[in-house]
Symmetry: C2
Subunit: 205 residues, 2 copies
């Protein structure tokens, strides 16, 4: 394999193992072994395990933002429909994969927030980027009159992302997508439908 | 120290380290060293690391259920006030402790759900017990007419616990209790206040 290909293979395999087992619980040796790369070559590609971990975070971010942007910025659809499609796409994915692994960003949040300031700040920036995509949908929906203008778009976007991460965690625990369905139900039927001052759900999504 | 005292000290210290660093990331050796117990004695108290881990889970469960039951089953107060006090007590605790560590049960959910069926089932039972306490408050509030009878008490209790765990995770990431405040705001001002068919918030909490 060419150097860049080998590095990519190490990152892909590392991402897979870290997503399943956690960062500190995954050994560099087992990643290299899975890729079929000799022991000594890790430091040729990465400065140290932290440098490697941050590149794994980049990889997770790219994957998640690609999905978020595909669904949440699709201007051909009404904003609440975009959000429905986004959460539905992940629920379908988790149904297919046996409710395993959960959210790679959520997992690292839980594991690394108190262990490394570098990781914590890096992960927090990913949360902010995804929140911004959700916030844009909320504001678009407000402009269309689909949800109340009294709703603080930033606050509700944060609450939505946090609740969704909590639902994914429970899904991983109970091995059922029921928590994701409940999240979607209360999000669309209550929080975004009947906020005080809201004229009510317009039925456009 | 007497045998039982030593075992308790190992569990207390182990719980502290696991809460901070995770189960797989905590070495038996560092726990014993912190307690001042000789290396070889661990297997006198515990069958293996899994047995030890499950006793740590018991310890976390006792702590969390004690808090949950103190607040959520206080029949002298209206049910929504009990819930407010419960979430407020944790928010105050996290404010005092710098938003560190998060929920020990949530942490283990994230870390262990895919790694050990024994842990997964044990942790799931704790979630169920706490959900039951919340569900009882919801039903009591329905009997009083504080929230709509159309609300499914089990579903909403699960959603509340999951969202709260997600908020704690975000708090641990951003090092601010803002996610907990947002959770409380949307829970009490929207979800439990304006569910379709609800006559409205009675102001009794």
């Amino acid at each position: 394999m060419a150097k860049q290909e080998t590095k990519k293979a190490i990152i892909r395999e590392g991402a897979q193992l870290i997503h399943s087992k956690g960062f500190n619980n995954t050994g560099i040796q087992e990643i290299l072994q899975a890729v079929g790369v000799p022991k000594g070559s890790f430091y040729f590609y990465f400065k140290n395990k932290e440098d490697f971990g941050l590149q794994i975070v980049d990889y997770f971010e790219q994957t998640m933002l690609r999905v978020a942007e595909t669904y949440l910025t699709d201007r051909d659809l009404p904003p609440l429909m975009r959000m429905k499609n986004f959460f539905n796409a992940y629920r379908t994915h988790f149904e297919k994969t046996g409710c395993r692994q959960g959210c790679p960003i959520g997992n690292l949040t839980q594991e690394m927030s108190d262990l490394s300031e570098v990781f914590r700040k890096r992960i927090a920036s990913i949360y902010r980027r995804i929140t911004t995509n959700i916030e844009t949908c909320i504001r678009d929906a407000q402009v269309r009159g689909d949800i109340a203008l009294t709703l603080n778009s930033k606050d509700v976007a944060d609450f939505i992302l946090d609740s969704w991460e909590g639902a994914i965690m429970r899904m991983k625990l109970d091995k059922t997508t029921r928590p994701l369905s409940l999240f979607e139900k209360y999000l669309f039927d209550t929080l975004l439908a009947s906020y005080p001052g809201n004229a009510g759900h317009t039925g456009t999504y």
